[in-house]
């Protein structure tokens, strides 16, 4: 085990992960709650309405933050999957396993909020011909596929390898989602430019709320994923001495 890759094994120790995240959790939760509150209040009360969209632009603060974070699931699962396939480290798979359902939530919320915005702005809830919309829907189904694949395979190590491979291949779709609005004609608008000057088009008064919300949503992603992974550790390591001591001490 000695050598250049030893740090990976140390990092991959479920017990180390559990102890480290125990220290992080209060800070993570505090920062998330603060930024989520600031972002929401700013978006609902202080964001100036766009001259075309009016108050529906408040929807996009949530939509953009959640949509951006939803693109991080396949890359995250692919990195964890590669570690699973190459180094057979259990912790990486525990993270990947719990990322899939959370990613499905993120993708669903992206689709739902986009649809609610589009029903007013575009005049349609859904367009099958828009590549941005369809590729995001594909990501949602792909994540459901990863979840079902794991559920269908009895052997945990085989299931982990199959899901890891699907996650790596699924990253292609993330690239398609991201560039769909630039490669093809779509109803969906391309990403907005950012201006640093207050009072100019795309000025900070429009994007600061979204930026705060984006950080808050990433913190939420981390927090939720860590909580789920810790549960996974308790279950899979339930026979380890330290977990039993923890369970006895907690009740």
């Amino acid at each position: 085990m000695a050598g250049r890759w030893q740090w990976l094994h140390r990092l991959g120790s479920p017990r180390w992960f559990y102890a480290t995240t125990t220290r992080w959790l209060p800070w993570l939760a505090g920062a998330m709650a603060l930024l989520l509150a600031v972002g929401t209040v700013w978006a609902l009360l202080y964001l100036p309405p766009d001259y075309q969209q009016g108050d529906t632009s408040r929807i996009l603060v949530v939509h953009v933050a959640v949509a951006g974070a939803s693109l991080s699931f396949f890359p995250l699962m692919a990195v964890a999957g590669t570690v699973t396939l190459v180094w057979r480290i259990k912790l990486a798979d525990m993270v990947a396993k719990n990322a899939a359902p959370l990613g499905a939530w993120f993708s669903f919320l992206t689709l739902a909020t986009g649809s609610i915005w589009g029903s007013v702005s575009w005049g349609t809830w859904w367009e099958w011909t828009d590549s941005r919309l369809v590729s995001m829907l594909f990501q949602f189904f792909l994540l459901l596929g990863v979840i079902s694949l794991r559920a269908a395979l009895d052997n945990s190590a085989t299931a982990a390898r199959a899901c890891a491979l699907l996650s790596i291949v699924g990253c292609i779709n993330v690239v398609v989602i991201k560039y769909s609005v630039q490669w093809w004609n779509t109803l969906h608008q391309p990403p907005s430019p950012i201006s640093m000057q207050v009072g100019s088009p795309n000025g900070p008064e429009f994007w600061v709320a979204t930026a705060i919300m984006a950080v808050a949503v990433y913190l939420f992603l981390a927090l939720s994923l860590i909580l789920a992974t810790r549960n996974e550790i308790l279950e899979r390591e339930s026979k380890a001495q330290w977990v039993r001591e923890l369970a006895l001490g907690a009740t």
Partner: protein
Amino acid sequence: MLAELQFDSLQEFLAMGGYAFNVWSVYALFAVFVFANLALPLRRRRLILRRLAARGDLAQSPAAAEQSGWEVSTVGEELQEQQREQKEQREQEEQGTKP
């Protein structure tokens, strides 16, 4: 100015310029999404700990761990072992200096 209050009254705020349904349903969905994905793992944690405490099974044997197809991480155990040794050593030293 970077941020100015956009509404003059509560009614105006709730009406959202005529898009009350769209704006409020998005924020309601967002609230459910955030709440559910924090509350459900916390609830599951309580259930797991309760179940584990009620059960007292033996530690997994190294042979069974080997068969699972996963790399066996011993870092936690190694650290624990190290700490125990250090503690014993300290205690021995303390005992050695006392009499």
